[in-house]
């Protein structure tokens, strides 16, 4: 067949690129097709105001799984991270800041100014989390077992994980079992009294999800994220050059390994013949046949848009329709004439540059986060949202003109499905809310840095609707689908279909909608490549 490819990968997001790399490494010649003009998916750096560049969406790595960084030799391909020792600077309404470090002794020192008891408990919590997260990390690297008919490999994997869990000892074993389904607010309350400390750690359990800190299962999200980075609040990893630098390095590594990448190549349809995926059709009508097709698009998009659902079993279609992927996240990027002055940092002038170069969090108390969540349940964005703020131009001055800065703000909760005040659902009215969302966020930050509004040269406001329309994330969900107990591990995206395969022969998934599916770690892409290779080599 002319132009036939062995493997096509739909979407050059980070998971697509990781999968492409491993498949190429194994001797295949994958072709990655990217709809947009640049690779990267949600890990991109773009100019949003003349001279100002910013990580448009995600601004910190997940962090990346170390074996992926090593295998792809990302450092050699130009990826560099800003040095980071500070985990989080958590701002409180009384003008203070709780600073957490990746070093748990330093954190304890800082916490002792709030509560000596919590300072002592912090070491316990950090140690328990480190121990447990190691076992979770093992499970995340695993392909979820086949429930109906576990293969010997599945059993071996389960046995190994089972043994690691047992080796934790009775106390930590029961912790894993008990913590998983808990509300993260309960979990942190078992260790700490200080509200900003509780909330700052708990925020990790709600990040990107439609959960509040009092929602059961939010502790699991914290554990999953801790698997990649066991420090209690997580330490951000800012790539020099923005998130786009990560995917640029990945693209280079994949290409070097033998993959080919085409941008401006939107896949319209996956062609299926007798239950087998045979080719894709591009927006320009071009048809590319292939031996196997791997979709890095989210499950909803893959099965409801790219594939004609007629080729799928009806109950599968029904379940995919029920796959929850309504996002809660918006992103605001600001071009600033100068750095804003944060009240809380005035007394710590010497440290200020380091503190600002890390991550600032607006999560002063559990109830603050829960109230922010409450509003989103009824279809409006939080008037006092949870925020995570970074100034990437501090670690990489090339992102803004000299003396000027970019400010990258992650905003939660901004529900994809807005409702009108009278409770009726009026879809697609995010456009009318765009300005109000920007104002709310700036106002919220101005409470901690009163001079911020005067320093703004330009807003870039990315609503959940933009995440869907421009960046292809269905429902605007940054994880391609809700991270919750019922959509995790053997259930991600669906029970019986958690092994990167689909009901259509030769069509695979490799995106965040598959296990483990969190943030910028590359784990889904790497796990998927392993399974695809197994199938194709048969």
């Amino acid at each position: 067949m002319p132009n036939s490819r062995d493997i096509l990968i739909i979407g050059a997001g980070h998971n697509g690129l990781v999968a492409a790399f491993y498949l190429a490494k194994a001797g295949f010649k994958p072709l990655v097709l990217e709809r947009r003009a640049q690779v990267g998916g949600a890990a991109i750096t773009e100019e949003f105001h003349p001279g100002f560049r910013c990580s448009t969406l995600a601004h910190s790595a997940g962090p990346l799984r170390p074996d992926i960084v090593r295998d792809m030799q990302l450092a050699r391909h130009g990826l560099k991270f800003a040095p980071s020792e500070i985990s989080t600077v958590s701002l409180t309404p009384d003008g203070r800041a709780l600073v957490l470090h990746s070093d748990s002794n330093k954190s304890a020192q800082e916490i002792s100014q709030w509560s000596p008891k919590d300072a002592a408990a912090y070491a316990d919590f950090a140690a328990a989390l480190a121990k447990i997260s190691k076992v979770i990390a093992e499970a995340l690297a695993l392909t979820p077992p086949n429930i109906d008919n576990p293969s010997s490999g599945d059993l071996w994997g389960m046995l190994k994980t089972g043994r690691s869990i047992r080796n934790l000892g009775k106390k930590d074993l029961y912790r894993v079992l008990r913590w998983g389904p808990m509300a993260v607010a309960d979990l942190v309350a078992e260790f700490f009294d200080t509200e900003p400390l509780r909330a700052t750690i708990a925020a990790r359990g709600i990040f990107g999800t439609f959960l509040g800190p009092w929602s059961a299962g939010s502790a699991l999200v914290l554990l999953i994220r801790a698997a990649a980075d066991p420090t209690p609040a997580g330490t951000p990893q800012f790539p020099i050059g923005g998130a786009g630098a990560i995917t640029a390095a990945m693209a280079a590594a994949a290409q070097e390994a033998g993959a080919e990448i085409r941008t401006n190549a939107a896949v319209e349809q996956v062609l299926i013949k007798d239950g087998v995926a045979t080719a894709v059709v591009l927006a320009n009508g071009e048809e590319i046949p292939a031996r196997a097709i791997v979709s890095n698009a989210d499950p909803r998009r893959t099965f409801m848009c790219l594939v004609d659902p007629i080729h799928l079993p009806p109950d599968f279609v029904q379940k995919i329709k029920n796959f929850r992927c309504a996002g809660t996240v918006a992103k605001i990027n600001l071009a600033l004439s100068a750095l804003p002055d944060f009240t809380a940092l005035k007394s710590r002038a010497a440290e200020t540059p380091n503190l600002l170069a890390s991550r600032l969090q607006v999560s002063p108390e559990i109830d603050y986060l829960e109230r922010a969540f409450d509003e989103s349940k009824y279809g409006s964005f939080s008037r006092a949202p949870y925020l995570e703020i970074a100034f990437p131009s501090l670690s990489d001055p090339s992102l803004a003109p000299a003396g000027q800065h970019v400010m990258s703000i992650y905003v939660q909760y901004a529900p994809f499905n807005l409702k009108a005040a009278d409770g009726t659902k009026s879809p697609a009215n995010w456009e009318s809310q765009r300005k109000a969302l920007g104002e709310t966020v700036v106002k919220t930050i101005a409470h901690y840095a009163p001079d911020l509004p005067q320093k703004i040269l330009r807003h870039q406001i990315i609503t959940p609707q933009d995440l869907e329309d421009t960046y292809g994330l269905t429902g605007g969900h940054i994880f391609h689908g809700e991270l919750a107990l019922d959509q995790f591990f053997t259930m991600r995206p669906l029970l019986d279909w958690a092994r990167y395969k689909t009901p259509i022969d030769r069509l695979f998934l490799c995106g965040s909608g598959t296990h483990p599916g969190t943030g910028l770690t590359g784990a889904s892409g790497a796990n998927a490549a392993r399974e695809i290779l197994k199938t194709l080599k048969k």
């Binding site: 109906d148 998983g180 389904p181 029920n322 349940k377 919750a484 107990l485 019986d496």
Partner: protein, 529 residues
């Protein structure tokens, strides 16, 4: 005075009595000690106002394990379950949703709201039955200890695994969702009618401090679906004579088997020597010895109030202190001179004979929870009401009625500055106001009103923090994690001291499961020693 018994059961609630009955039937000499003047714990009937007998706390029954009814021959001891047919949900729009046990009628009624939902309702019922079939054997199982390598424990896990594997792919999918999702997320997949989802989701939050959108509530939905009277799933009923009649029937069976029962016998302390429980001291100073103590009160009372410090390992005590109660509900019982007249369905009809549910929309339910999260009782609460006198006329003088209202949310911990003793009557007024929006004549027919707050449940009925299940039914407190991880097999770190109340597997409701399972374990140990 020191009389010797084989076993002393602390608490004469339905689980304590069940426990005692099973032990006595196996030939043990058993003494039950109840602090109050009436038996039954929260399953009691009391004449609160002259002529009006209230099921003060628990008011309907469905979860009572059929094997217990059979083993203890409860009908012969006076247990008679009367039908409670249907759930009537009035809506602010002037419409209503009225589901009854008659399949055809319910189908037509739901179709009036949505044809699609009427079809889905049948499918849903079938799916829930399949789920119940999977979960039921687990309810009768001693929870395994996943931390050991003991083959017997592993077999139990394997048994569950096998049963899970044996289900159809759809059932597996549903089961996993039920164990993990929120009631609303789960119902959203089946139905579109808001009021239907709201009123169905209510069973997912009863007695828990969770909202209908909180993950984990789908399981509680199933827990309540498991009701079984005469083998019919999802059938709820009244006990003739009020819920106290259930406890009395169990007590009758226990006495017949030789159990001695004393009321007004509060326990001051459980006696422990060399890490072995050997008796109790009553509040009046009496000391009674026994080789086994079986406590049906919750772990907080048992281990932190009745045991002198120093007898328990720290880690276990940490677990006990961590165990979450968080009572979230109250009761308002009313003596009525007539019957409520609903605006949306006026007159005296069959709708008054079933449950009447104030749960008009999902957002209504969720907002009720939001208020409670921050320490306020819901200004517009979820209310589940029944008028048992329409089925059982013995409970009130002729022509008069009683209205039993279960109200949620009433958080045990109120916001700073508020306390339940001052809020109590305001809370009661608010319930009347809420009902009057649907049945305005309610104000005119109230003769007496009794308000039971979570604090009352704690003080009077010994339910810590007023939790009606002796501890939340949340995932991290179920099965082998209930009440304390590693201590889910009814035993405690103190030898010969057992737990047999709702705080143990399979949990709360008038089920009797914990009492029975604990008795089996006690007997097993007795045989082994």
């Amino acid at each position: 005075m020191a009389t010797n018994y084989d076993i002393i059961v602390i608490g004469g609630g339905h689980n304590g009595l069940t426990n005692a009955a099973y032990l006595a039937k196996a030939g043990k000499r058993v003494l039950v000690l109840e602090r109050r003047h009436v038996l039954g714990g929260a399953a009691c009937t009391e004449e609160v106002f002259p002529g009006f007998k209230f099921s003060v706390c628990s008011y309907v029954v469905s979860l009572l394990r059929p094997e217990i009814i059979r083993d203890l021959d409860l009908p012969r001891h006076g247990l008679e379950i009367l039908p409670l047919d249907g759930t009537f949900t009035p809506m602010p729009s002037g419409d209503y949703l009225w589901r009854v046990n008659d399949h055809g009628k319910t189908h037509r009624e739901i179709a009036r709201h949505s044809r699609v939902d009427a079809e889905a309702y049948d499918e849903f019922g079938k799916a829930m039955q399949a789920m119940c079939r999977f979960v039921k054997p687990i309810l009768s199982m001693i929870p395994p200890d996943p931390s050991t390598l003991n083959p017997r424990e592993l077999m139990k896990l394997l048994f569950i695994g096998r049963r899970f594997q044996g289900m159809s792919s759809d059932d597996k999918y549903n089961q996993v969702q039920l164990m993990t999702m929120s009631a609303v997320d789960f119902l959203d997949q089946w139905f579109e009618t808001d009021v239907l989802k709201a009123t169905m989701s209510a069973s997912g939050i009863i007695g828990t401090f969770l909202g209908v959108r909180s993950p984990g509530t789908a399981y509680v939905l199933l827990h309540h679906y498991m009701g079984e009277i005469d083998g019919a799933f999802r059938a709820w009923g009244f006990a003739r004579g009020g819920t106290g009649a259930i406890s009395n029937a169990i007590a009758g069976a226990a006495r017949e088997a030789g159990v001695e029962i004393r009321t007004e016998a509060a326990i001051a302390q459980i006696l422990v020597k060399n890490n072995r429980a050997y008796g109790v001291v009553l509040a009046n100073g009496d000391e009674i010895h026994a080789s086994v103590i079986s406590s049906s009160v919750d772990p907080r009372l048992t281990f932190t109030k009745m045991i002198a410090p120093g007898h328990l390992p720290d880690e276990f005590l940490e677990g006990v202190n961590r165990y979450k109660f968080r009572g979230s509900s109250g009761k308002v019982n009313m003596a009525l001179s007539g019957l409520p007249n609903f605006k949306c369905l006026p007159g005296i009809g069959a709708h008054l004979r079933g449950a009447m549910s104030i749960s008009p929309s999902v957002d209504y339910m969720e907002k009720a929870y939001d208020e409670a999260k921050y320490g306020h009782w819901s200004s517009r609460p979820y209310i589940d009401m029944v008028i048992p006198t329409l089925t059982d006329t013995s409970l009130a003088p002729p022509g008069k009625h009683i209205l039993s209202c279960f109200v949620q949310y009433a958080p045990y911990k109120l916001a700073p500055g508020l306390d339940w003793d001052t809020e109590k009557e305001k809370f009661g007024d608010n319930v009347v106001n809420t009902i009057s929006e649907y049945a305005p004549n309610i104000r005119d027919i109230i003769l007496h009103r009794q308000v039971v707050t979570p604090l009352d449940l704690e003080r009077e009925w010994g339910l810590s923090e007023g939790n009606i299940f002796q501890g939340e039914l949340s995932l991290e407190q179920l099965f082998f994690l209930r009440p304390v991880a590693g201590w889910a097999q009814f035993r405690s770190p103190i030898k010969n001291l057992y737990m047999c109340g709702s705080a143990t597997h399979p949990g709360g409701g008038i089920m009797g499961g914990p009492g029975r399972l604990a008795a089996l374990e006690i007997l097993k140990d007795a045989k082994a020693s």
